[in-house]
Symmetry: C2
Subunit: 722 residues, 2 copies
């Protein structure tokens, strides 16, 4: 008996359980990083000449170039739009404030500011909540999951991209405590998924190019490149982009792929740089490689650098994450209607404006205006002529500009006094915490940088009496601020170090930055996971970490696998297949394994063959690989295929379409070993066989993701259909 | 019948064939990146608590820190030693030349110079040729092979390290056209292999620590870190180091491992920086992160950058490689006796000195001495007072200093005229080509940089009339020189780009550097492989590239595997095992696979059990994993184990010691699929089974490395015992 296997091993029905992070959702499918090497595939590969492979390779490079170019362009558009919108907004409000400072009635200014903010944010929230909820947030958790191999629905659609871009412009212009860097990564990924497929399903347009790349393996490679290009455009850090992609995604290292990713990143940062230079009327200057630009730090490190101790930063990060975790739970439970979500976003926008205004209003920290007029929107308020309110530098500004002004206050001079800094940190901390997770498209990188930087700076100032002998501390406060940037929140440690090093353009900072990040990570991990991981967990995504839990050698494939497995004979009755696919019957033969066939393949088969089968049994039109590619990635549901009673009796030969050499493991294999094989090859299914080579079970992503190290050793999560 | 498999599948004896690159040597064994998960191993892992795993993780970090520190220290020692020795040499020669310039008789100076050079080089060549031939060359090809998974004999021994360090000091001080960067990578790797094992077999000293790490899997991870630390110390490029390790070695990406590699790199560059700063009496300055330091380039890129066209550079690189290839063939055939090798090295040293002297003597390119006296050893010779011979800047200097002076001639002023540059390039090209492959310890990075830089600069100067309108070309000639650096020779493209970007500390150069490197690589690859690859091929090393040849879908596991396989029963007679291991008999049962056992494991088993077996059958002392670790990595040969006739009749139970769940593939699996599994998991053996789960063959590294894409499609290499 020669059965083949079906994609979904039918299990006992899990019952509906209230939402919590101890669940694993079954609604997410896996991407398949392993080619289904069936006869059709092998025939195509064998027909292809060496020249054909060369051409493919060249197309890959061209696509990566395009991805980089388009991502850079999008970053450029976002930057210009945000600058202009925010510029107009701050100009109007500033005029208004100046008008009313003299005559009294600043509450009108406050209302104006709050209304302007809310209007922007409302626009952003409406498109996200009503048109494409997948565009909410920074998109980094979603891309992490995608690169990890989880198929998140609608994450790489064109519509998501459009909503994301408009959304992020609105939220940043609306003065929320957010950054525009995170969304760039998502945008890059969408661009990559679109360009590489040579068609848009949303626009119903097929360019008939790049058809070879229409499968998970190739698409995922390009999405890695897109994400890297996004990082690169956001931070001006091409190497950081490559490392981000690798850290999150490609467990199987491929030199040529890495090269292409690097190429896309380079093109992306170059494009952004080029167009921004032109926009700024300085063509050829090329001084803005990324959306955020820390400027150049001089090489002058002292031992005192290490003073900006990362431990409290880790604690602060942990607190941020815990608060945000509770908030997210609350939102999942009570704020799930789009109207409510939009209203919450508007509320946050209004509160942000109010708090900022109050902080500026009650602050009496006046600083003299610098000779170079480096302030963007200096607010005089109640300060003397020639001075300005320093709290306004932090609050009356886009977050990027706050960061830059903070890192680059001229040596020897402190813009801020410790009180201002502490107050700002505290307020901004809660605002950012409230903001992250709103139904708007926005990132958390810049806010976390701001919080960390301010906290560190405040601390530095307060310890200046201790450290006075080290005169450099005074000379370069910005540097310390930078170093303390509170990375306890996000914890993408490796790529982040590189991003920071690249963004500052100075290798010497590497070691201190790394030590700070590492300590922050260790301290933070002790309390709670990283922000992105929390959000991934709350979505119940079956995320595979890089290694099996350390103490999981006790478990074997037999214990983790799903069984029994649905099996077909090599030549099977159409009726049986349809019934099994419709979940109305199950089919558990026990026989030697002869291959693996996917649900999607069976559906394409049924769709194309049913008619012909009815006419003459077993003399079929030759199905091409192209038929499978055309259906990718949105395969029709089984319900859409109508099979008559006659057709149900036909026999279908699966030999050509199944993968005859799926990877298998014996039942006694330990979990870490199964895990390693699964992860290294990016598998979606791993067949478990007994010593007679009979199929006894199937290991899928969910079976592996279920086990994790909790406080009390190895824990097992439950599965839920939601 | 339940057989287990033996490591060496005995094949038909290959006959001895003359040395050429179409051969694959059988003398190299593979490293095993896959743990042998036998009962002993699983028991140990299961006994270990979560805390135990934490401790292991901490030790790994400590070891990486140590590796970084020691590597940095070694780099520091090399740098200081070379500076001082070369300083003394050039001082003596300069005094001598100045003395004889007036009175005539410069030939005495020439002789002095040549003798000094030869003396240094002789010392370096003698220790390499007579004590440790494995320390010859840059060591990068060897480390590439090691990271690829090939066990190169003696490559990570302490003795190799000592000879390598002394050797490189001698060769650089001896004025050869070599760099001291390559050997650092090898040194780092040796340090890592030593530190991580917690013992030195050479010194017969066992510290009884880190015993858990005594296996290929862990050791190879640490060697990756060591190599990265070496790159980092050599170029001040920690990220480049990480990428080098990944590009060359770790096909299985592991986040924590990468973090540790990065940590080691950071520590290494920091240590070097720190100690060099102290040595230079500028503690806290930290301005020399690497052995080579290009200094800082200002951000000012113009489109004209791309003029430094990489195509001729690729051609030049190809020519270099072809010449060196012929030379190496010649050396393998005729210069294989140590005495001859030492003599050749001395000859090259003397010729280098003579040619340099001649070039300086006949050059009449005088330049005024700069106001800042930036020249290290300005030679006046026949120039007017206040001027110096500019050819001497290039030749009368260590290669590192030549590079630096070339890249950093002050803007608007050209040290060199085109003729000088062209002559230097030509001479240096042939000298470097002759030098690489000598029996001395030395690298090829700096020479290739010098050749490329000079060539580009010369070309730039000659095209200045065309490009005059772009005034920047004149302002920053060093930049163009840098960009053109002739990377056609080596072609480690990705990590090199990053190394270059890091070394210049400027992201903006990324894209042009990458484009130049890429074009050079494509042009070069069209003619001949990279220099390191050539040398690896000439050693007949079974090197696995990252992917199977594109057109190899025709081949299946059945065709590439080695068969028949030596099999044992689960409980086997000692005599049979000894006979098979001694190659005096073969054993080909056909039965269901039940596990995989290695030759080394059998040898340890025999060694420990033979005595006890003799006393009482099947009641054995419990063998520990420790016994296997103690024997690692120098397992005794089978000949050293004496088995009496009585003992031969005993039965040995292999169940506990074999890996019961080896990875298997069906016979019909295509070569690319086999290759992917093998490479992704870093396997050493892959068992091929039929549909009944019976062993039919074994795929090893050599079976996969045999196939490569030649000029006429897929080619198969022959196997040779040498």
């Amino acid at each position: 008996m020669h059965p083949s296997l079906l994609q979904d091993s039918v299990r006992g029905c899990p019952k509906e359980i209230p939402h919590n992070e101890k669940l694993l959702s079954l609604k997410y499918e896996s991407l398949d990083y392993d080619n289904s090497e069936n006869q059709l595939f092998l025939e195509e590969e064998r027909r292809m000449s060496f020249l054909g492979f060369k051409c493919l390779e060249i197309s890959r490079w061209v696509i990566c170039g395009l991805i980089g170019f388009l991502t850079g362009l999008i970053a450029c558009c976002i930057d210009i739009a945000v600058e202009n919108l925010a510029g107009v907004k701050y100009y109007v409000v500033k005029q208004n404030i100046e008008k009313f400072t003299e005559v009294g009635g600043l509450s009108i200014s406050l209302i104006l500011w709050a209304v302007l903010n809310s209007a922007f944010v409302m626009l952003g929230a409406v498109i996200v909540a009503f048109f494409e909820p997948g565009a909410a947030g920074s998109g980094i958790p979603q891309i992490k999951c995608y690169l990890n191999g989880v198929k998140i629905p609608r994450v790489v659609r064109l519509k998501t991209l459009v909503v994301k871009v408009c959304g992020v412009i609105c939220s940043v212009a609306g003065g929320l405590a957010v950054g525009k860097e995170g969304p760039m990564i998502h945008s890059g990924a969408v661009v990559a998924a679109g360009v590489s497929q040579g068609r848009s399903t949303s626009l119903k347009k097929d360019f008939k190019i790049f058809e070879y790349f229409r499968r998970d393996t190739e698409k995922r490679d390009f999405v890695s490149a897109g994400a890297a290009a996004g990082v690169s455009a956001a931070f001006g850090a091409p190497v950081g982009g490559v490392l981000f992609s690798l850290e999150e995604g490609a467990s199987f290292w491929n030199q040529m792929l890495t090269w292409r990713i690097f190429f896309a990143s380079m093109i992306s940062t170059f494009t952004l740089n080029f167009f921004l230079s032109i926009y700024n009327n300085k063509p050829g200057d090329l001084s803005s490689p990324g959306l955020i630009n820390f400027g150049r730090f001089e090489s002058d490190v002292s031992v005192c650098l290490l003073l900006s101790s990362p431990k409290p930063c880790g604690l602060l990060g942990a607190l941020f994450n815990i608060l945000n975790y509770w908030l997210t739970i609350f939102r999942i439970r009570y704020v799930h209607r789009p109207c409510l979500q939009v209203m919450e976003a508007m509320l946050v926008a209004a509160v942000t404006a109010t708090v900022s205004f109050a902080m500026i209003y009650f602050s009496n920290d006046c600083q003299p205006l610098g000779p170079d007029q480096s302030e963007d929107y200096p607010l005089q308020l109640f300060c003397a002529d020639g001075e300005y309110n320093s709290m306004a530098t932090a609050f009356f500004n886009t977050p990027e500009r706050s960061v830059r002004s903070l890192f680059h206050n001229p040596p020897g001079r402190l813009f801020y006094n410790p009180l201002t800094l502490s107050l700002f940190t505290l307020t901004y901390f809660f605002l950012a915490c409230w903001t992250y997770g709103l139904t708007v498209s926005a990132g958390v990188f810049i806010p976390s940088l701001l919080i960390g930087a301010h906290r560190t700076l405040a601390r530095l100032v307060s310890i200046m009496f201790v450290c006075r002998s080290l005169s450099q501390v005074w000379a370069v406060p910005g540097k310390y601020a930078f170093n303390g940037s509170c990375r306890g929140i996000v914890r993408m440690t490796l790529s982040l170090t590189v991003i920071m090093v690249e963004a500052t353009g100075n290798v010497t900072y590497g070691l201190p930055i790394m030590l700070v990040l590492l300590t922050a990570k260790i301290v933070g991990d002790y309390f709670v996971e990283g922000l992105y991981d929390i959000h991934i967990k709350l979505q119940s995504v079956p995320f595979l970490h890089l290694e099996a839990p350390a103490t999981s050698h006790w478990l074997t494939a037999r214990e983790v696998m799903g069984a029994p497995v649905t099996c077909f004979n090599r030549i099977e009755k159409v009726g049986t297949i349809v019934d099994v696919l419709s979940n109305t019957s199950t089919n558990h033969n026990l026989g030697k394994i002869c291959g693996l066939i996917l649900r999607s393949q069976l559906i394409v088969l049924l769709k194309h063959k049913v008619r012909e089968l009815a006419r003459s049994r077993l003399t079929q039109r030759k199905l091409q690989l192209k038929d499978f590619r055309d259906a990718y990635p949105r395969f029709p549901p089984i319900q859409s295929i109508h099979v008559s009673q006659d057709e149900r009796e036909c026999m279908m030969d699966l030999t050509e379409f199944m993968n005859p050499t799926p990877y298998t493991v014996p039942q006694e294999t330990s979990l870490p070993r199964v895990f390693k094989l699964f992860r290294a090859l990016g598998l979606r299914h791993l067949v478990v066989v007994d010593s007679e080579n009979r199929v006894v079970g199937l290991v899928t992503r969910k079976d592996l993701a279920r086990y994790h190290l909790g406080k009390h050793g190895l824990e097992e999560m439950q599965l839920a259909q939601t």
